[in-house]
Symmetry: C2
Subunit: 344 residues, 2 copies
């Protein structure tokens, strides 16, 4: 089959790889209907040292079950399913607590002998725990929105939920990428009435307004902090959703949070240390969030997508075939695309 | 009157200062019955550059109301009262949320024209909001335990409460100082069944066992982390209460916390940055806590002290008169005393 491999910064190739086969009785084989490029894929695309043997990549996909091992009971051939961005048994103590990203028997797509999602098919380990059945056909117009259940939508939701967003909390979202926009949508779903979106790409912040943002702040750094404080009577917002992963973004988040408030981060950290010394101690600031256990949220968010109450698929503003994946990476890295959908 | 002044590292003096008088109609005058030295007083005692004019110090006291301004309605002459370690109006939005340390009209003892607590008397601003009446006499044997309501007991409780300690959470307490021991007591009060105390002073950890610690780990750094992990099947504990304030202590806390768990810190940070990069992100670790709004907890903890269910006053292992305060500082700095009570 064809699949995407990352050979180093700026070097993404689509090549022939062995067709996946069932290895364990808990595996399923899924033919990929839709995949996409994640903002976090752009970190290796920007900085990965060159390697001789490319690494499989992609961790968001939705597809059709083609075959399943003897111990897979939840799925049959032909089922349309979505996979969260890590696989997990969904039965261990961590999974039962809703922390499938720390599953005792789970792992990552594209690691070891596990396929990446940006290809024609994937062997899914722990299929019963990992996959979620979608009550739609292969040609559903909802596929793009359903694909966001794999990562960006639950990641934004995790950010808002762990921050404690609710009807009485004001919210700042730092970052107008796909996750930030999904965080806006999630904050609105959780009842927030005031949602300040920090971002400077007008097409993105316009979509953010559609998703529920009540204010947009285009300034960055100290100016951005001052602007959010000005909008909130000097206090900052109760919750801040950090959806970038850069140190400056986290510093901004810490700069706009109200005393006693919470910063939740879901941007994969490109920093080692967090600037939380005496000042944040005196203000009783909480830092929470982390890699989102998407699996824990899919059933909760699925009805909204099926009913069309939310349309997270609007974050996809470009679609490519598998052989054009390199163009998709380039477009996202150049910020000419917000998020790229792949139709293998 | 006589009061304590800090002139620089190692230089604490008791001198004559002007008697406090009512300045605002919301003030009260309190004659101090008991005060004490805080672990946080040891930071300036260790490192404050010398100054020509000493600064008033002390933020924990309990005393008798001697006079009150026209707008003070809650207290009468002769009432025995305890003061939390910051003063506050207890009516603003932050106070109503239980964050009196961020009161819009509050402040610190010993700052500006406000007296410190380590003296014979104190002018108490915002007396109605700040003080809590104690139903005891001046000669109550409970005074030492009641004095801990000013800081160490609610600080330990804040740490455990913000960490989310409960019957189903395992706990590690980092630090066997007075706050750490009060954190142990608080974790037990909140229902924790497994409380690991990290400390290497046997007399202190013995008291910690009396307060509820089920395990004691004397090792520090990587060895200490390994030992706590060993005690918890490799996982670490759901909650970690950081009661020191040094970077190494916080690193230890982050090293022993279970995936999905919470580190709460109440040790005044002697660091600028927190080591929470990718690893803690992948484990969904939360950092919370901060300077404790003691005022928010006093009524909740008072009944236990009055009934003798808890005896936090056992953290005081030395008592000095006001003129011996310098000896008290020295004893705490040398660690020959755990916490020093002052009887002016």
């Amino acid at each position: 089959m064809r699949a995407t491999l990352m050979y180093g910064a700026g070097d993404v190739r689509v090549e022939n790889v062995p067709d996946p086969v069932l290895k364990n009785p808990t595996d399923a084989l899924v033919r990929v209907l839709r995949s996409c490029v994640c903002g976090s894929d752009l970190w290796p695309y920007a900085a990965k040292p060159p390697v001789e043997h490319g690494a499989r990549i992609g961790h968001e996909f939705l597809g059709v079950v083609e075959d399943a091992g003897a111990e897979v009971s939840g799925f049959s051939r032909g089922d349309v399913v979505v996979a969260p961005f890590v696989w997990s048994d969904n039965t261990c103590d961590f999974c039962r607590e809703g922390l499938q990203t720390s599953c005792r028997h789970g792992g990552q797509w594209g690691a070891g002998d596990v396929d990446g999602g940006q290809g024609e098919a994937v062997r899914v380990p722990q299929a019963d725990g990992t996959l979620v059945k979608l009550p739609v056909g292969e040609d559903s117009p909802l596929l793009a929105s359903l694909l966001t259940l794999s990562d960006v939508f639950p990641t934004g939701y995790h950010c808002a939920a762990t921050a404690g967003v609710g009807p009485r909390t004001t919210v700042t979202v730092v970052g107008d990428g796909a996750v930030g926009l999904c965080a806006v949508m999630s904050a609105k779903r959780l009842g927030a009435e005031r949602i300040v979106l920090m971002g400077r790409h007008k097409d993105r912040t316009d979509l953010g307004r559609d998703f529920g943002a009540t204010d947009v702040v285009a300034e960055r750094g100290e100016e951005g902090i001052a602007r959010v404080r000005e909008l909130t009577g000097g206090d900052g917002t109760h919750t801040v959703l950090e959806c970038v992963g850069l140190e400056q973004a986290l510093d901004t988040a810490l700069g706009v949070v109200r005393a006693g408030g919470t910063v939740s981060r879901v941007g994969a950290p490109q920093y080692q240390h967090v600037n939380m010394g005496f000042r944040s101690f005196l203000s009783n600031i909480t830092l929470t969030g982390g890699v989102a256990p998407a699996r824990a949220y899919i059933e909760r968010l699925l009805p909204d997508v099926l009913e069309g109450t939310v349309e997270p698929g609007r974050v996809f503003d470009r679609t490519v075939g598998l052989d054009e994946v390199a163009d998709g990476y380039r477009a996202m890295a150049d910020r000419t695309a917000l998020k790229v959908l792949i139709r293998p």
